[in-house]
Amino acid sequence: MTPVPLTDFPLLPLFILLTSLLVAPILFALPESAARLRTGINLGMAALKVALVAWLAVKVSEGVIYDLRFTMLPGLEFKLQADPLAILFVSLSAILWLITTVYSVGYLEHGPHRARFFGFFSLCVAATVGIAMAGNLFTFLIFYELLTLATYPLVIHHGTAEALRAGRIYLIYTLTGGLVLLLGTLGLWVLAGTTDFIPGGVLDNVAAERPRAAQLLFVVLVGAVGVKAALVPFHAWLPVAMVAPAPVSALLHAVAVVKAGAFGIMRVVYEIFGIETAQALGMTAPLAAMAAITILYGSMRAITQDDIKKRLAYSTVSQVSYITLGVALASPIAAIGALGHLIHQGLMKITMFMAAGNLAEGLGVKKVSQMDGVGRAMPGTMLAFTLAALAMIGLPPLAGFVSKWYLAQGGLDAGAAWVIALLLGSSLLNAVYFLPMLHRAWFRDGTRAKETPKRPRIGWMLAAPPITTALMVLAVGGFANAPFSPLEWTRFVVAIAYREQSQ
């Protein structure tokens, strides 16, 4: 055993969780009129969280191990840990939470039920942080269900019939997924006697003795988290959930729900089964195929959507599956692409959703066919949108290009040359559904632009966030090899997940 540096503050992960968990009841209790106080608490906590996460990241990179646990049932523990993979996801959610909070404050400035909104918003982020730092599948399950419950009121925030219908579909999909996850967790507990996330997996013996049971468990677990990751055919809830307010959609697509699913797939494949065991069971190839189908299907459906947010939603279905694909290819290089894409997709998609929200707020534009000339009316917002769209298509040196580059290399490394064709095809499809939007925005004189000659004033709280994230898209792509860039951290994570193999 190598000596492990002592933790100077072992409760740090719990504190990070509590910054958003404990603030929720306070936000619920605040009267609707106390807007300034609410904003202050929200931003203060979000900023505090970013600081704490930065501290945690520095400590973890120095090799400090955080491990918090207490027994809930005989043998079964509630466990929080801060491994490099957790840091990756926690930093993403902490930073984007701060930005989205600013955006939500601006977006909901005069809307109803703000106390409720920000309370559940905090709970949602707490659940995401819990999912990231869960040290075993049991803890993961607890936060996974909390995430479902916390996002439901956000999805139906408008309280209209359409919103409630979307909420019902969302609940049916995610709670059924949660139940299946409960079954899978129980199965794992009964089969392996532990639910801990351990690099290299915990199922080697079971896989050797009862391969059928292990295969079934893989299907159950990946299927369960696949619902939130919007893998086809479990994706139908995501486009419907578009009725939610723009900041919620941004959060749902970039940080919280879909990402929780993709992150769950990583945990299950890398740390429950272990990549080698999963490969030996013959389960990675079907998963890769499923991801490939989802990538193509999502893009194809995106082309025909006229509603901007729906088009973006189908694009998410497609883009999130890059992560699954990278995991399923079972190659360390592809894994770097997958983990990098976890961050990159988050940044790109949150930019686009916030930009779409600004279009709706500023100009009332909600459809692609109304986008003529919006570039001139809202240049900042549309520049951010353009940058993110080009990154999605995979234009170097933007973030999306880096992910696709590593995925393609990983495909070659894993001996799956079809991945290159898939990525080219997908990029082509991305171009087909994004470029017309850009063309309309910048190169066509819309009737709408003539109707609203003056630039709408939307306030800095709406204008600044998408521009910030767009700059981040530029930065993480351009400086992909700088220390502490997401990609560098990703290499660190992959080194751990594939440690067994390299030895």
């Binding site: 809930m72 419950l149 439901y152 909420g167």
Partner: protein
């Protein structure tokens, strides 16, 4: 006079009941004081059990089999604590429910009935012989029927009458069983039963008692009286009836399975099948219920079914484990259902009705009561980290490891059904486009929301401390597991 906490737990509420009956003007003060004092006695008892594991005492110094002996172990103290704690919070919630001047009569009868009920419940949890158990369930039935008809509406009276018939019939069947046992064994104390030779006559006696208990606890298909009775009582009474009263019969059933080791595979499985029917039928009925309180009452039928599945899930060899699961589920349901009924009562009080279809038309939204209802629903559905989740987890774990996949499937379907029927209510809470007037500034917060909220938070929070709760239940080895 002994200074034993068990004696106090039994007689404090009894004397309290007499006192409030004699002094109706001071009913609130005396009633609350009696319940609080009983809580204190239970706390002392819990301390004793924690130290010694098992505590016995003979009333008036007369030993069994002649006298009345009282016995407490981890399980009985857990039940006592649940009864007293939930009872105290429901009492606090009732202060507000019966505040109006028109409620004078209701208030006058509520306190003696409730204290009598508490006496009966405590008697059941401390009793050691089956005749005393019979007496106590009669006391409970008397008080419970009184609580059901307390609101005085026509529907409540009809439901109360039905409840009374079911209750009397159940008690008679139980008494018949007790008589057979006495004829056959010549003893009535539970300790004597364990030494009795297994025989057909004893099995028949057991069967009679079990059917009587099933009627009292409303296991499908003997649940017919429950939905109307629980839905039409006033809110605090419903909370007591649904959260606590049905648990007394369940507890006796749990004890009997231990002391009469005659449960064969067929009987256990048929219990489970009835439980499964209750889960499915109750779920479907809850989906169709038009009123909020009726929906909550049907969910009680479902939960009782779930508890019987927990009995059955591991089969006879696993009964040493499965009783703990049943106890966890009983505890979880008791706390959460009391919270839920009180929250439903608050919603009804604010809106003036509890028709689910019209929840979203009201311009008044009692936010805190709705939140409480949702928290209680989380525990009842069995979502983490609530106590209901821990119960469901243990149930499924046991069923899976013994390969009883059919119980896993039924539990899963039941869970989905419960999500479906509770989400009808949530949709009513959160929909805003059908109102005729804009949402009122006053959102219906009141001090009366605090007791149900406390209970609901307890139902969620107890899940986090399930491990200590479990080890407390096992104190004194209620089911004779080897030390």
């Amino acid at each position: 006079m002994t200074t034993d906490p068990m004696t106090f737990a039994l007689f404090l509420p009894l004397f309290g009941a007499m006192a409030v009956f004699l002094l109706p003007r001071a009913s609130v003060a005396i009633g609350l004081a009696s319940v609080a004092a009983t809580c204190g006695a239970v706390l002392f008892l819990a301390r004793d059990v924690l130290a010694k594991g098992e505590v016995m005492t003979a009333l008036g110094g007369w030993e069994a089999p002649l006298g009345i002996a009282l016995r407490a172990d981890g399980l009985s103290v857990t039940m006592l604590s649940m009864t007293c704690a939930v009872g105290l919070l429901v009492s606090l919630g009732a202060l507000d429910s019966f505040k109006g001047t028109g409620q004078m009569r209701t208030r006058q009868y509520f306190w003696p009935l409730w204290l009598l009920l508490l006496t009966g419940m405590n008697g059941v949890y401390l009793g050691t012989d089956i005749f005393n158990l019979y007496v106590m369930i009669e006391v409970i039935a008397l008080a419970a029927v009184g609580l059901t008809v307390l609101s005085g509406t026509r529907a409540a009276l009809r439901a109360g009458l039905e409840y009374m018939y079911a209750s009397i019939l159940g008690a008679l069947l139980f008494l018949l069983g007790v008589g057979f046992v006495y004829l056959h064994v010549g003893r009535l104390d539970l300790a004597g039963l364990i030494e009795a030779e297994p025989s057909g006559a004893l099995s028949a006696a057991l069967a009679l008692m079990v059917v009587g208990l099933m009627l009292k606890t409303a296991l499908f298909p003997l649940h017919f009286w429950l939905p109307a009775a629980h839905a039409n009582a006033t809110a605090p009474a419903s909370a007591l009836l649904s959260g606590l009263v049905v648990k007394a019969a369940l507890y006796i059933f749990l004890r009997l399975t231990m002391y009469m080791p005659l449960l064969d595979e067929i009987m256990v499985t048929s219990m489970g099948v009835l439980g499964a029917c209750a889960v499915l039928w109750g779920g479907v009925q809850a989906l169709r219920a038009e009123r909020l309180k009726l929906l909550v009452a049907w969910s009680t039928v479902v939960q009782i079914g779930l508890i019987f599945i927990a009995f059955a899930h591991a089969g006879p060899p696993g009964l040493h484990e499965s009783w703990k699961v049943a106890a966890l589920l009983i505890l979880a349901h008791g706390v959460a259902k009391a919270a839920m009924f009180m929250a439903a009562g608050r919603i009804r009080a604010e809106l003036g009705h509890d028709i689910i279809r019209d929840l979203d038309r009201a311009p008044v939204r009692p936010t805190l009561a709705q939140f409480t209802f949702a928290l209680a629903a989380i525990s009842i559905i069995g979502l983490p980290p609530s106590l209901g989740f821990i119960g469901k987890w243990s149930l499924l774990e046991g069923a899976m490891s013994s390969g009883y996949w059919h119980w896993v499937v039924v539990t899963m379907i039941g869970t989905l059904l419960s999500v479906a029927y509770f989400s009808r209510v949530f949709a009513g809470f959160l929909r805003f486009d059908r109102m005729r007037n804009p949402v009122a500034e006053h959102q219906g917060w009141a001090l009366a929301d605090l007791p149900p909220l406390t209970l609901a938070l307890a139902a969620i929070g107890l899940g986090l401390v399930a491990a200590p709760v479990l080890s407390f239940i096992e104190l004194g080895y209620p089911f004779g597991a080897a030390p």
